[in-house]
């Protein structure tokens, strides 16, 4: 489903991603862990198409298509979804309006009929109930004045409504208490299925108790320095990122 080959990306003058290789097959769940500043969010945004980053080398294939040639909205319409680490506030646009516009925009790009208001509201109500969200959040402006936890749930709500093929969750667990974490994990697990894939970016192994990954990768200084099964996450929890830093320093020294 997703194949990243030797991906290099920079912002302004700073090289952030320095040769990422990653393959995610349909039906799989991958976890990406790594210390702060290692490039996890950058990778997520490069996938989504954020224009602040320049890809200087490498390629990304998404269902066989060259992802880097698609614009942001085409990627979204093709089923790519990024749950933001820091969701954006949009004063003046209600959450409800935004969600319906997004669903219809995707349908339009596929030449599908638009969703009617009744079905939309029904679907919305169901998903909000599953995520334990208060009805009032629909009339409020997108993410404006939402607590950290509410913003994260709102991201998962968008994911549930849009039913992406490849979901990238960027630290969706940070700032969530254990109950919220469970609700969010349930939302993600509902999406899990043989025709989708999920990439979970996280700092803590905790989330992986609820969303059990098929593979775990460790990102450090813009490269994937270790890959393994879920026991790698436990090992990291045990030993901390300290052992990785020496590891990656050695790796970059070796690369010179």
């Amino acid at each position: 489903m997703l194949e990243i080959k030797n991906l290099h990306a920079k912002s302004e003058d700073k090289d952030i991603l320095r040769g990422i290789n990653l393959q995610v097959n349909v039906g799989e769940v991958h976890a990406i862990m790594g210390p702060n500043g290692s490039g996890k969010s950058t990778l997520a945004h490069v996938l989504a198409g954020r224009e602040d980053y320049e890809v200087t080398q490498g390629e990304i294939l998404y269902n066989g298509q060259n992802l880097l040639e698609m614009n942001i909205e085409q990627r979204a319409a093709a089923g790519l979804f990024l749950a933001y680490q820091y969701p954006i506030e949009i004063p003046g646009v209600s959450n409800k309006y935004f969600l319906k516009a997004a669903m219809n925009a995707v349908r339009k790009q596929h030449g599908q009929p638009l969703i009617d208001t009744t079905s939309f509201l029904k679907l919305l109500k169901e998903n909000m109930q599953l995520l334990g969200m208060d009805k009032s959040m629909m009339e409020r402006s997108v993410n404006e004045g939402f607590s950290g936890g509410e913003k994260k749930r709102n991201e998962i709500l968008q994911m549930a409504m849009l039913q992406p093929k490849l979901a990238v969750l960027d630290e969706t667990d940070s700032g969530l208490d254990i109950d919220a974490l469970r609700i969010v994990a349930d939302g993600v697990n509902t999406l899990r299925g043989p025709d989708r894939a999920i990439i979970v970016v996280t700092h803590y192994q905790r989330l992986l108790d609820y969303i059990v990954p098929d593979q775990v990768h460790v990102l450090a200084e813009g490269r994937i320095v270790r890959s393994g099964d879920r026991t790698l996450a436990l090992e990291l929890e045990d030993k901390g990122y300290g052992f990785l830093e020496t590891h990656s320093a050695a790796a970059s020294a070796a690369a010179v």
Partner: protein
Amino acid sequence: MIATETDAYQDAYQRLNDARGDTFPVWLRELSERALNQFTTLGIPTTRDEDWRFTNIAPFAARTYKIAESAEIPASRIESLVNDAILDEQFHRLVFINGRYAAQWSYLHELPNGVIAESVAQSILTHPQSIESRVGQHFDCENSAFIALNTAFVEDGANIVVPDDMIVDRPFHLIFLSVTDEPAVSHPRNLISIGKNSRATLIESFRGLEGASYFTNAVTEVELHESAHFDHHKLQHEQLNALHLATTQVDQQAGSHFSSHYFSFGGDLSRNELNCMLNGERAQCTLNGLYMPVGDQHMDCRTRIDHARAHCKSFEIYKGILDGRSKGVFNGKIYVHQDAQKTDAKQSNQALLLSDDAIVDTKPQLEIYADDVRCTHGATVGELDEQAIYYLRSRGIPADQARTMLIFAFANDVVRGVEVLAVRQHLETILLAEHGLDNV
């Protein structure tokens, strides 16, 4: 001022005055004569005038505009203009073509007893005493050349009177159409009076025949008696060759509520002046405005709120969305008189620049002569939030629609204040549907 600039108006005035019949009331003839003299004395303002520093009217006003004759335009074209302007068939509709009441395009539903809704020309002809105390009563022509000009050429407009203790549910919709094939001027004069404890809603729409070049010089005078409630809307959709100047003057007695919703889309150069005199205790006004110039359009919005009595409140939000090489001017004055203790005044004006070449000049002015008051004002100028555009796009919303949505979001503070559904939908259609998005 340059004498020749006003000469054309002198000649036109003579012709108009000759055409005024014997029945034309003496007091009005005198008023109009005085106004013409005042206009001549004041002359057309220049940018050396403090009030006109940012708006150079001279090249426009010096053009020769004829007093518009009755149009020789096929009825079918007028009909389609009227249809474009209609917001809701349920509204009382008064249509003016080139400033003159056009009965065949107007439609009045049954009016509550005692309510007057008719043309000023009709009032002048049949019962001029009903307007005698209402023309130019609440301001003088001393300082405004264009109010003076309007008064000199007073001929027609809407005369609306709601007696005491009456609620008029259906909005009055005044539709002003400029339908000319040569540069023409019209001077509509509207007289609105809302009685004690009464409520009414009014919409003024300004439109023109596609491609027409004309000058609209409108004045609306509003008096709100004790505890009256009045909602005023103005939809300025003039043609791109038009010069649109307008003044709305509101006199508010104790406990009255006035709200104004001004939307400016059209015109080559437009200037809207809105003056509210809070003339009785606990009177309240809300002034909301949205101006959206594109291309080379120039839009000037001026408001003045006089807190003349104690315990009055005023709330004001003006927003500008400017594209192309357009220019916006906002000047908002709040004048708190010495006796106006416990004044509560809030003013905010914000501009969104969509292009590097658009310019906005904003000038909030607070003059406060009372000591126990609460007055706040704030002004911001900004651009669209690129992060928000990215966020919307990453949910599948195409870039141009994402921009539209953010522009709407910016405007929505003003749009959602409109309580008349058909007006709000009209605005949502302009801001959203015409750009491929659903209305809210």
